[in-house]
């Protein structure tokens, strides 16, 4: 029964994608005039690549631990590159325990808990395809129901696979979706690179009208080509970033890998407070990459 439902859902989603594509183009053309006005110097001929061939997908259909052929983990409170708090003064200790990460009923569940653990006050999980899967260009998207509350910071993002050679931000970072738990109707899409990282990153927010991100699933994606990164939520294209927008070197022409994580606290959101309800769970229905 469960399986049939899942197939039904798949069909529906596929249909939606077609619809999304149609709408995307419409939206793109609508957005074009604005773009042209704001950056006359760039090539006015917009190349829109059609990313339809799926190259990687996880539908999270097998209960248990996430598929190790796709996902690895970042563990603890940071590494030698990021330093403690993963470079953002985050408060959680990442584990791969089932309490923090598991696949159940067709979803990947990443759960942030409030508990003393190895000196930290919170635990959570961060999944990465580093060393397993990376790709330059294409369509990256995930269907996610987000958690909520002050200090809750989930993200679906990409890092340049050359990070160990060139370091951050030279490697580039594409944040497909970031969200502050205290602003449950708003997400942000951002790129970081040399000369435009952290506080000077190129970012834009997208807010739902009469809805919010923690009560239902939404699709967060990018369409990424040689000279542009298009950001969309569900069927709405809300931003396009091109080399003209960044105040530095365009570092998005090499393979990137995927990270999905649920942070607690940190510079971007501030610490949780007494109003924050724990545990908080982020549900991921699927992750798909097209070329």
């Amino acid at each position: 029964m469960e399986k049939i439902l899942k197939q039904e859902k798949m069909k529906k989603i596929n249909r939606n994608i077609i619809l999304v594509k149609g709408l995307l183009f419409k939206s793109l053309f609508l957005a074009l005039p604005i773009f042209v006005i704001s950056s006359c110097a760039t090539d006015e001929k917009q190349t829109v690549t059609n990313f339809t061939e799926i190259v990687m997908q996880d539908e999270f259909d097998t209960d248990g631990v996430p598929n190790s052929a796709i996902w690895g983990y970042d563990l603890g409170t940071g590494n030698s590159d990021t330093g403690s708090g993963w470079g953002n003064n985050e408060l959680q200790f990442y584990t791969k325990r089932t309490e923090n990460v598991k696949v159940e009923n067709g979803y990947l569940l990443i759960t942030a808990k409030k508990e003393p653990y190895n000196g930290a006050s919170y635990t959570s999980a961060r999944l990465t395809t580093k060393g397993i899967f990376d790709q330059a260009y294409g369509r990256f998207e995930a269907r996610i129901r987000l958690p909520y509350g002050q200090g809750i910071w989930p993200a679906f993002w990409l890092l340049g696979a050359n990070i160990d050679e060139v370091g951050w931000p030279q490697c580039g970072e594409i944040d497909i979706m970031e969200y502050r738990g205290q602003e449950p109707a708003k997400v942000l899409g951002t790129v970081h690179g040399p000369g435009y990282s952290g506080g000077t990153s190129i970012t834009k927010s997208y807010s739902l009208l009469n809805d919010r991100f923690d009560t239902g699933f939404h699709i967060f994606g990018i369409e990424w080509g040689p000279d542009y990164i298009n950001y969309y939520v569900d069927n709405v294209l809300y931003n396009q970033i091109t080399p003209a927008n960044v105040k530095g070197e365009w570092v998005f022409d090499h393979p990137f890998y995927i990270i999905i994580n649920l942070a607690v606290g940190g510079n971007f959101v501030g610490a949780p407070n007494s109003e924050t309800i724990f545990p908080q769970t982020m549900l991921v229905d699927y992750v798909r990459v097209y070329k």
Partner: protein, 478 residues
């Protein structure tokens, strides 16, 4: 401002009756067979009263507190202005009213009451909400609200909109002076809205705690007094909690041979034993529970035997009592004691909870010169091992306040001026103790016996007294 009980104005009530009667005459019999559908208009006050809306101030409030203001408005041509009176204003002690529609409205398609508001100062409105109709107040909602001096939009979520298919109470508020001073505030664009961002419901009863209480056969309680709330997370990230009427909840008693809960949240105790009362709201389980232990009927205090001629009674069903101002003065800021006179199984009794100290003030000071004793009946259901009470008769009218003090229970840090009149070991849990205190000569106490006006009982050792019952307080002569 301390919590008041708001009573509606009788004048308004009669007006309401007349209206109902007129409507009643126009109704044709065939309507009874048709399904009633009510208008689903969500607007309450935008630039004036919306259809059928009327203003009914609370009894004792400043009736002219509400006006339509054409000068100050957030949007459009007018706003609602409320003038809170200053302490001592002869026209009313506070501002408060309901705004009710003549015909019920179907609000089930909305998820919140929203409005813009600002004040001449950053006052805290004591109670504001909807669902008060001077009828059953079945779906009453209230919260407090912190104003600022700038216009801000406020959201009061509906605990469960599916219930509001025929609602007349569109809006109500009650606000007293801030630090004794009156002020004004404005409300504009008052309406029910479907925001779509009212999410993550977390209903609670007993403020989310699990409590155990003793209750008695034949003495029902209302769950409305047990911290019923609904909390939503708003788009702003704020967790907004409102107090919700019992009818929003679905209650469950684990043992219906002991306790039964009506749809209106009235718990009736029907047999001895234990039952755990839990609840849900809109299909979401509420946190908190009330476990009741019902030992049986309430033990009635022994009936005094002396004749009326020999007593000056302060609280007794047997005697005519002298008038009192209160049996609990709720003295700020240190008193925690709740409760006062209550009726259990037809008997009047004083029932105090969270007891640290409590006072009974007489309306007119009494002369006890001819009296030899003071008698009081005390009962505790759970008896602390270290009970030590200090009972004082006071005369606040003599040149200097004079008093006689008496110790009931342990002699913890014994004060020679307060001799022990009843030993702690003589108390038995759930059994009334009759304590007879000799009136001592003024030379030993200082008490001026011609004008006693205050009787104070203190929980001097902060013993864990959950509930203390007091009955038959009277002076007498042997």
């Amino acid at each position: 401002m301390k919590k008041n009980k708001y009573n509606y104005s009788k004048v308004s009530f009669f007006l309401g009756l007349v209206l109902t009667a007129i409507v009643g005459c126009e109704r044709s019999p065939s309507d009874d067979a048709a399904f009633a559908t009510f208008p689903n208009d969500g607007e309450v006050f935008i630039d004036g009263f919306t259809s059928g809306l009327d203003y009914f101030p609370f009894e004792g409030s400043y009736f002219q507190a509400f006006t339509v203001d054409k000068e100050t408005k957030q949007k459009g041509s007018t706003s609602m202005r409320f003038d809170v009176p200053t302490v001592g204003d002869p026209l009313g002690a506070y501002a408060g009213a309901i705004f009710r529609t003549a015909t019920a409205r179907d609000l089930s398609g909305y998820d919140a009451l929203t409005f813009w508001a600002k004040g001449t100062q950053a006052g805290l409105i004591n109670e504001i909400g909807f669902g008060q109709d001077f009828g059953e107040n079945k779906y009453l909602v209230s919260t407090d609200l912190q104003l600022t001096t700038n216009w801000r939009k406020y959201v009061i979520p509906i605990p469960d909109a599916e219930k509001l298919i025929a609602e007349r109470g569109m809006f109500w508020y009650a606000e007293g002076p801030e630090n004794g001073k009156g002020y004004s505030f404005w409300i504009d664009e008052l309406k029910f809205e479907k925001l779509g961002t009212i999410a993550q419901p977390r209903p609670s009863i007993l403020k989310g705690e699990d409590k155990v209480e003793t209750q008695f056969l034949g003495s029902p309680i209302s769950m409305a007094n047990y911290g019923l709330t609904q909390t939503f997370n708003l788009e702003s990230g704020v967790n907004q909690t409102v107090t919700a009427a019992p009818s929003y909840f679905s209650f469950k008693s684990s043992n219906i041979e002991v306790a039964r809960v009506s749809d209106a949240g009235i718990v009736t105790f029907v047999g001895p034993g234990t039952s755990k009362i839990t609840a849900s709201l809109g299909g979401v389980k509420a946190t908190g529970s009330l476990t009741v232990n019902v030992p049986g009927s309430f033990p009635v205090a022994p009936v005094p035997t002396l004749s009326q001629n020999n007593v000056i009674s302060i609280f007794s069903d047997k005697y005519t009592n002298v008038p009192v101002n209160y049996y609990n003065g709720y003295w700020a800021p240190y008193q925690t004691t709740r409760g006062e006179q209550t009726t259990i199984d037809g008997q009047n009794v004083l029932n105090y909870t969270e007891f640290n100290f409590v006072g009974t003030q007489l309306t007119t000071p009494i002369d006890i010169s001819g009296m030899t004793h003071f008698s009081v009946d005390i009962m505790m259901l759970e008896l602390p091992t270290d009970i030590d009470l200090l009972l004082t008769f006071k005369n606040e009218n003599s040149t200097a306040t004079t008093f006689q003090q008496n110790r009931i229970g342990q002699s913890y840090q014994l004060d020679p001026r307060a001799p022990v009149v009843y030993k702690d070991t003589d108390f038995k849990a759930g059994v009334w103790s009759t304590i007879k205190i000799p009136i001592r000569p003024t030379s030993q106490t200082s008490l001026d016996k011609t004008g006693v006006n205050l009787i104070i009982i203190e929980n001097i050792k902060s013993s864990k007294v959950k509930t203390i019952y007091v009955d038959n307080m009277y002076f007498y002569k042997e």
